[in-house]
Each structure stands twice: as structure tokens, then as C-alpha cells.
């Protein structure tokens, strides 16, 4: 396919990712939060594939596959299992109310674009403007982490951040070296397992995943 077309596609997908990020930021229900996360994975996979096709980078196919397996199938599955095991179906409680969060989010996006401006000027790849979006996604997920009160949404925010980084890696730089990608994937997986263990431990100790129980250690 032609470069320009793929470029447009990438931009489209980038916009889609940003949209999903906002959706997650505004999402109140955990289950749909997880689904959104899965969708993010899907879009990520597609974008990776597009880049791979357009640039004929062999290892990008692997990383696309990796993404599909890890971020679309395994992680959401683990999360769903957790939800069922811990039978937590509560809504997401936020520290700041949603509209404000959105407002801040928009600010962040503008900031991110400004930040990326000088770099996108000199980006040689077909996907110049995606870097800004990647930064935006990272910052948005960060914002999400620090506005969510419960443990699981925080983790999802963490994973979403990972996605943003991954997107930056693929789109802006045609993907990291494969070794690195594998390593990263491994870390994410292990991290996820450990989190799983954690949830159970936290649960059996505090019989809730509310982070308010975990504010004992302090100096005052």
C-alpha cells in the first residue's frame, strides 16, 4: 500500500487511541474500562501491522502478534478473571469529578502537542505527528492513575500508559529492537501476575481493594 495512505491510516488510528484514552478517563464502570483497554490493544495491533506493512520491518510483525496476544487476549482475560474471583463489580470512584478530569486532560493534550512540536518537525518517519499523541496518551493514563481511588483502575491506567509507550515505539520509531520488546513484554506479563497475587493478598488483608485502607504509612 502507498506510504501516504498508510500515513493517513496511522494518524486515524492514533486519533482513535486518543479517543479511547479519553473514554477510559471518563469511564465509570470497571468492566467497560477493561473492554476499552482491550480495544486499545486491538487498535495498537492494527497500527503496528500498518507500520509493518508500509515499512516492511520484519520484527514489527512479531511485535504486532505479541501485542495481540498479550494486550488483547491475556491481560483482559486476567483482569476479567480477577474481577470474577474477587467479585468486585463496583463503579469506579474518582477523586476529582469527571468533567474536571476531562478538562485537565484536554490541557494535557495541548501541552503534549506543543511538547512534541520541535521533534515532529524533524521526524523522518511517515508518522510524524503520532509522537505528540503518544505523549498525550501517556500523560492521560498518568492522570487516570492518580484520579482513581481503587486498585484495579489504577492498574489499568498503568497498562494504558504501557500501551501509549508501545504506540510511541512502533509509530515514531518503527518499533524498538526485538530483544527489548520481548523483555518489555515479559516484564509486563510478570508484573501482571504479581499484581494478581497482590490483589488477593490485599483483598484478604483489607477485605477490599480500596486504596484508602492503605494510607497508614506516613510521617506526621
Amino acid at each position: 500500500m502507498s506510504v501516504s495512505l498508510s500515513g493517513q491510516l496511522i494518524n486515524l488510528l492514533a486519533a482513535l487511541l486518543l479517543l479511547i484514552a479519553f473514554a477510559m478517563l471518563s469511564q465509570r464502570r470497571v468492566l467497560s474500562l477493561i473492554n476499552l483497554f482491550a480495544w486499545q490493544g486491538v487498535v495498537l495491533t492494527i497500527s503496528t501491522l500498518v507500520v509493518a506493512m508500509s515499512t516492511q520491518q520484519q520484527h514489527l510483525y512479531y511485535s504486532a502478534a505479541l501485542t495481540l496476544v498479550l494486550k488483547v487476549i491475556i491481560l483482559p482475560w486476567i483482569l476479567h478473571r480477577l474481577i470474577r474471583k474477587l467479585n468486585v463489580k463496583w463503579d469506579v470512584e474518582t477523586l476529582i469529578n469527571i468533567p474536571t478530569t476531562m478538562l485537565v486532560g484536554i490541557m494535557l493534550v495541548i501541552f503534549a502537542f506543543n511538547l512534541a512540536l520541535p521533534i515532529t518537525q524533524l521526524a523522518g518517519t511517515i508518522t510524524r505527528s503520532t509522537l505528540g499523541i503518544a505523549i498525550a496518551i501517556v500523560l492521560l493514563s498518568f492522570l487516570m492513575m492518580l484520579t482513581r481511588r481503587k486498585a484495579i483502575p489504577q492498574v489499568i491506567g498503568f497498562l494504558a500508559m504501557e500501551n501509549g509507550l508501545f504506540f510511541a515505539a512502533t509509530s515514531a520509531t518503527y518499533g524498538m529492537p526485538l530483544v527489548v520488546e520481548l523483555g518489555i513484554a515479559l516484564d509486563v506479563l510478570v508484573g501482571m501476575f504479581i499484581l494478581g497475587i497482590f490483589f488477593f493478598q490485599i483483598r484478604e488483608t483489607f477485605d477490599s481493594l480500596d486504596l484508602r485502607h492503605m494510607e497508614k504509612l506516613k510521617d506526621e
Binding site: 520491518q57 520541535p118 521533534i119 504501557e162 523483555g183 516484564d187 508484573g191 504479581i194 504509612l217
Partner: protein, 483 residues
């Protein structure tokens, strides 16, 4: 080949201890593996000193005088800590705070943790370095929550989330680095090799590099424990088992700082300004001051020394930020003596808390009467960490302060204030713990404090006499960085 041994030993050891377990002798096996690792490190070190920097496995690994000294330090402290943890964990088990399975987890994770740190140090690939750093977090997070107490869980959770988020920033920084490198070196695995980057660092895109460095600094800085990214550190140190606190504070922080410094070298090359250095000095000063003021309000002994670690890391960061041969040398020296002294202190504290059964300082009194070795170990260690000569910490602080007075006089009043406050706070707490009366009986069996005094002896040596080869090695490293 030493590298293979170096990395293989702990990796295999971790898997072995996880699978086989060998319940009764696990501590000894653990110590044996650590010892083997130490031997490998020693061999490697001698080789580097003799015939300069080497790369291995088509440049995937790169060892120069800078990281080899950290490798040696890491392996050594890991070994002594394993010696210390042998009786310590046994006693914990007798006290019924740990089950056999927890111990199994502990031992295998201990080895894996060593592995990840050594990997992060030896690898030449900035990406792999990131992977190793993240892995180091993952291996230790379960150790922090080993006791499964609410407090330890909370600490571990914070540790995990904060460091995870931080490290994610570092990843983004790495990506940006790659983004910049790719345009010079072209795509492919080699563009993330530090040696290559270092070779072309002047051509790297300044704007990208500055951005990258910010992300890297925030990312790895979180693990170094620079204020205001430090909040996980005191919790994790206070709640984990003492050997873990010792290696966390003695080694992990060093490794993270190592990553920062490696990035700084690239950033300096690309920017040609002291931008990176100034940022590091700022963070360093802030950490020193904040930590110093935290110290005075501590009740938990391990927590207090955790803050002192933040303070010292801040000092080292400041030193590296200043740059220049002397300051960098001082920074390296301070890394060494700090990890030696601080781990020694944690050993002593560990025994003290075990014998008194509390970590609250106002309940610990008259150690010197109850067990002179613990008492003197703690007292001397504290004085050493407070920068009292003739201990080595003083040597590095001397160089750092005087250099600062020469090149950045504005910083010295802040440092003076912070060091004064730190001294006042820590000593006010430790003196009554060591001195004074106690109603506790003397210990039935004297605790094994060999590691403590070995460390202190080394620190003392470094304060009075730095062996020539060690000196040459430091200076190579300083010359490498201090541009």
C-alpha cells in the same frame, strides 16, 4: 566468559532455589551462590583493570572501569548480605514470622534480584538496561511484602506502583533516545547500544535528547529515591526484611543512579551544555534538604536510615551533577562507602531489632550494655554515615563540599544546613539507643556481626588509605564521566 559466570550464577541459583528449594540448607546454598558470583565479579574486575574496557557477545555487554567497580561492589555486598541473612532469617523463622515457603521465595528472589542488578550494570543496551531495572523492581516487590502484614503490603503496593510508573517514564525516555539514535545510526538493534550512542553522541538531536533525559531522569530518579519522587523508599525499607532493606538501599539505588549517569553522559555530549548536570544538582540538593528534615521526626529506626539513604543519594547525585574529575571521583567514592556503611548499619539494626523485638527507637536502649558488639557496630556505623572521619564517608563528603565551595558556593549554605540537621537528628536518636541503661538481659549467644565489622573496616580503610589499583580504577571512571 566471566560475564557468563557472573550472570549465570545468580540466575541459575534463583531457579535452583525456587525449584529444588532444599529446605534445610537454603540459606547456605544462597550464600554459596552469592560467593560464586562474587568470585566471578572479582575475576572480571581484575581483568578489566589489567586490559581496559571490554565488550562481549557482539557488544551486547560492555564493561568499563565505571560499571565494573559497581559490579564488584554489588557482588560483594550481595555476598556479605547473604552471610548476614543466614542467621537472621533463621531467627525470623524461629520467631514464626516466616514460613518455609516464604523463605523459599525469599532465597530465589534474592538471587534473581542480584541477577537483574548485575544485568542492568553489565548490559550495553539501554533497552535491556530498562528491562533489567523493571525486573529488579518486580523481584523485590514480593520481598518487601514478605511478612504479609498490612503495613508491608501497603509498602509493597506503593513501591510497585510508584516505581512502575516511574520506570515507564524511563521507557519513554529510552524510546526517545532510540528515536534520536535511529536517525544517526539507522534502525536496528545496535542503535540502542551505549557504546555506539556514546561514539555519535555529539550528532544526536539536542531537543530530543534533552526531552529524553528528562524522562530518563524522572524515571530512574524515582528508583534512586530523589525527592520528590522518593515516597516509596522509606516505606519499602522499613517494612521489608532487614537483608532486603540492606540490599535495596545499598545496591539498588546505586544501580538506578548508574543508569542516570550513563544517560547524562549521552545528554551532555548531545547538548554540549551543563543542562543535565544542573537538573541533577537541583534534584540532589532538594533530596538532601528534604531528607535531612524528615530525619528528625522518625520513630522507626529502619525508616530513619532509609531517609538517610535518600540524603546520601542526593549528595551523590549532586556530585555527579557538578561534574569535573574531583567531584565525580568523590561521587563514585561516596557510592561505595555509602553502600558499605549503610548495609553494615542495617545489619546492626537488624540484630538490634531482633534482640529487642521492636523497631521503635524509644524502646531500644543501652545496646552497648546488652551486647557491646551490636552497640559499637551501630554507633560506629552511624558516626561513619554521618561523615565522621576517619571513615571513608568523610573523604567523599570532604571532596564534594570543598569542590562545591569552589565551583558552586551558593549551594554550600544549603548543604551545611542539611548536614547539620541530619547530624543532629540521627545522632540524637542513636546515642540513647546505644548508650544508657537497659533492663534487657545480655544476649544468650553473640550475634554474627562479622559482616558489619568487615564493612566498617573497609570504610575505615577507604578513609585513610585508598589502595593504588582502587584509586587508579576510580580515576579511570572519573575521567570517563567527568567531562
Amino acid at each position: 566468559m566471566e560475564i557468563l559466570w557472573l550472570l549465570g550464577m545468580p540466575l541459575f541459583g534463583g531457579i535452583f532455589l525456587a525449584t529444588v528449594g532444599c529446605r534445610r540448607f537454603a540459606p547456605e546454598v544462597n550464600a554459596v551462590f552469592s560467593f560464586a558470583t562474587f568470585i566471578a565479579a572479582a575475576v572480571l574486575t581484575t581483568r578489566i583493570i589489567n586490559d581496559g574496557p571490554i565488550t562481549a557477545f557482539d557488544e551486547q555487554f560492555f564493561i568499563d572501569s565505571f560499571n565494573v567497580f559497581l559490579v564488584a561492589l554489588t557482588a560483594f555486598v550481595a555476598f556479605t548480605t547473604s552471610l548476614f541473612s543466614r542467621p537472621y532469617m533463621r531467627i525470623e523463622q524461629h520467631h514464626g514470622r516466616l514460613t518455609i515457603n516464604m523463605l523459599r521465595l525469599y532465597h530465589s528472589m534474592y538471587q534473581l534480584f542480584t541477577f537483574t542488578m548485575l544485568l542492568a550494570l553489565t548490559t550495553n543496551n539501554m533497552g535491556i538496561m530498562w528491562v533489567a531495572m523493571e525486573a529488579a523492581t518486580l523481584t523485590t516487590v514480593l520481598l518487601v511484602s514478605l511478612y504479609r502484614t498490612p503495613a508491608s503490603l501497603e509498602a509493597a503496593w506503593k513501591y510497585f506502583i510508584l516505581c512502575g510508573v516511574g520506570i515507564a517514564q524511563a521507557l519513554f525516555g529510552t524510546i526517545l533516545l532510540y528515536f534520536a539514535a535511529e536517525r544517526v545510526l539507522g534502525p536496528g538493534g545496535d542503535s540502542l547500544l551505549w557504546t555506539h550512542l556514546n561514539a555519535v553522541k555529539t550528532q544526536l538531536e539536542p531537543t530530543v535528547l534533552s526531552l529524553a533525559f528528562v524522562f530518563l531522569l524522572v524515571g530512574y530518579g524515582t528508583k534512586v529515591g530523589l525527592a520528590p519522587l522518593h515516597n516509596w523508599l522509606p516505606d519499602a525499607h522499613a517494612e521489608g526484611p532487614t537483608p532486603v532493606s540492606a540490599v535495596l538501599s545499598g545496591l539498588l539505588l546505586n544501580v538506578a543512579l548508574y543508569a542516570v549517569v550513563r544517560s547524562k553522559v549521552l545528554a551532555d555530549g548531545a547538548l554540549g551544555t551543563n543542562f543535565a548536570g544542573n537538573l541533577m544538582m537541583g534534584f540532589g540538593l532538594l533530596s538532601v534538604v528534604v531528607a535531612a528534615f524528615f530525619l528528625s521526626r522518625q520513630k522507626d529506626v529502619k525508616r530513619m536510615f532509609a531517609y538517610s539513604s535518600i540524603e546520601h543519594m542526593g549528595l551523590v547525585t549532586f556530585a555527579f551533577g557538578m561534574g569535573g574529575a574531583v567531584a565525580t571521583f568523590a561521587g563514585l567514592l561516596h557510592m561505595t562507602v555509602h553502600s558499605l556503611t549503610k548495609s553494615a548499619i542495617f545489619f546492626a539494626v537488624g540484630h538490634a531489632t531482633q534482640t529487642t523485638g521492636t523497631q521503635l527507637m524509644e524502646n531500644i536502649r543501652g545496646l552497648i550494655k546488652q551486647s557491646p558488639t551490636i552497640g559499637w557496630g551501630l554507633m560506629l556505623g552511624t558516626l561513619a554515615i554521618l561523615g565522621m572521619p576517619p571513615f571513608g564517608v568523610f573523604a567523599s563528603e570532604f571532596l564534594i563540599l570543598t569542590t562545591a565551595m569552589h565551583s558552586h558556593p551558593w549551594a554550600t549554605p544549603i548543604l551545611l544546613l542539611a548536614l547539620g540537621v541530619a547530624f543532629a537528628s540521627i545522632f540524637a536518636k542513636v546515642q540513647p539507643m546505644v548508650f544508657g541503661e537497659t533492663d534487657l538481659p545480655r544476649l544468650p549467644h553473640p550475634p554474627a556481626l562479622v559482616p558489619v565489622f568487615v564493612h566498617l573496616a573497609l570504610v575505615l580503610l577507604l578513609g585513610l588509605f585508598i589502595p593504588p589499583y582502587l584509586a587508579g580504577w576510580y580515576q579511570q571512571a572519573a575521567a570517563l564521566l567527568g567531562k
